[in-house]
Point group: C2
Chain length 163, copies 2
C-alpha cells in the first residue's frame, strides 16, 4: 500500500519541479496586466539524434480503476518530462529516488491540487501516467523523438496506490 | 479596424503553430489508455548566454477594454514563444508577415476556439498578449533569460481590434 501525500515543491524537489504560480517567481508583464511566474521547470533534453524539446498533448480515454495497482515503473534517460493539466484536475504521480534499481519501500506518491503540474527530472523512475477520469488532458513538455528514451523496471510486486 | 478570424493551423502556418489535438498527430500511449498528440510546436530557442527553453505561467490581472486598440507590435529575435490556455478560454492574437518592418494592412488577427494554444515562430511580429477576463492563465514555453529578446515596433497608427 502506498498512500499519496499532497504535492509540494519542497517534498518533490529530489524528483523534479512543481509547475505552479507561487510568489517566489513572480514578475510583472505587459504593463502589469499580467503576473508572470518564470522558468518554473528545469528542462533537460539530450540533443543527439535530432533530440529536441517537444510540446505534446495526451487525452485520457480509459481511466484506471481505483485503488490502482501497478507493478512497473519507467524512466526517460534522455530527457526531463513535464505534465501540466489543461482542464484543472488533480492527478497522482509516484516516484522513486534516483538510481539504477528501485526498492518499493522507497516509492513516494504525490497528488496535485488540481492546478499544479510536475516535471520529472531526467532519469527519475516514475509510475506511468494514469488518469482517473476520461477526458483529462495533459500538456507534455519532453524530448522528441521518444525512441530509446524509455526504460521499464519490474518492481517484483504489485503496489496498491491509495489516492 | 482589424477583424479576428477563427484560428486554424493552415491560416496560421506562416506565423507559427497551432497547439491542439487533431487527428494528424495521434498516437496511443500507455496501453492505449491515452491518445497522445505529439510534437505540436516547433520550439526554436537560441542557446547562447545561458539561453534555454523555459516553462512559465502568466495570470491575467487586468483585462483589456473592448474594442481593444493597439499601436505597437513586438517580436522575440532569440526564440519561439508558445501560449497555451490553462483554464479553457478563447484568446485573440495579431500577427504580421516576417520582415524588418510591418505594414498595418498586412496584420491578421486570429481567435482561438477556447482549447487551442499557439506558438509564434521565432522573430514573428505580434501584438503583446492581452486577456479579456481577469484570471485567465497561460502556460508559456519560450526562451529564458528574456534579456535582449524583445523588440518593439510602433505601427504609426492605432489599430482597433474587433474580436
Amino acid at each position: 500500500m502506498l498512500n499519496a501525500e499532497p504535492l509540494s515543491a519542497k517534498a518533490f524537489a529530489p524528483y523534479g519541479d512543481v509547475i505552479e504560480t507561487s510568489k517566489n517567481s513572480m514578475a510583472a508583464m505587459n504593463e502589469a496586466r499580467f503576473e508572470r511566474f518564470d522558468d518554473l521547470a528545469k528542462i533537460n533534453v539530450d540533443g543527439s539524434n535530432d533530440g529536441h524539446v517537444a510540446i505534446s498533448i495526451a487525452v485520457a480515454k480509459v481511466p484506471v480503476e481505483l485503488p490502482y495497482r501497478f507493478e512497473l515503473v519507467e524512466r526517460h534517460p534522455l530527457g526531463s518530462q513535464a505534465f501540466i493539466p489543461l482542464n484543472e484536475f488533480a492527478f497522482t504521480v509516484v516516484v522513486a529516488p534516483f538510481g539504477e534499481s528501485v526498492d518499493a519501500a522507497d516509492l513516494r506518491a504525490f497528488t496535485t491540487n488540481g492546478r499544479q503540474g510536475i516535471n520529472y527530472r531526467r532519469g527519475v523512475w516514475h509510475m506511468p501516467l494514469i488518469a482517473t477520469e476520461a477526458g483529462q488532458e495533459f500538456l507534455i513538455v519532453d524530448r522528441a523523438p521518444s525512441i530509446d528514451n524509455v526504460q521499464v523496471l519490474a518492481l517484483g510486486q504489485a503496489i496498491t496506490l491509495i489516492i
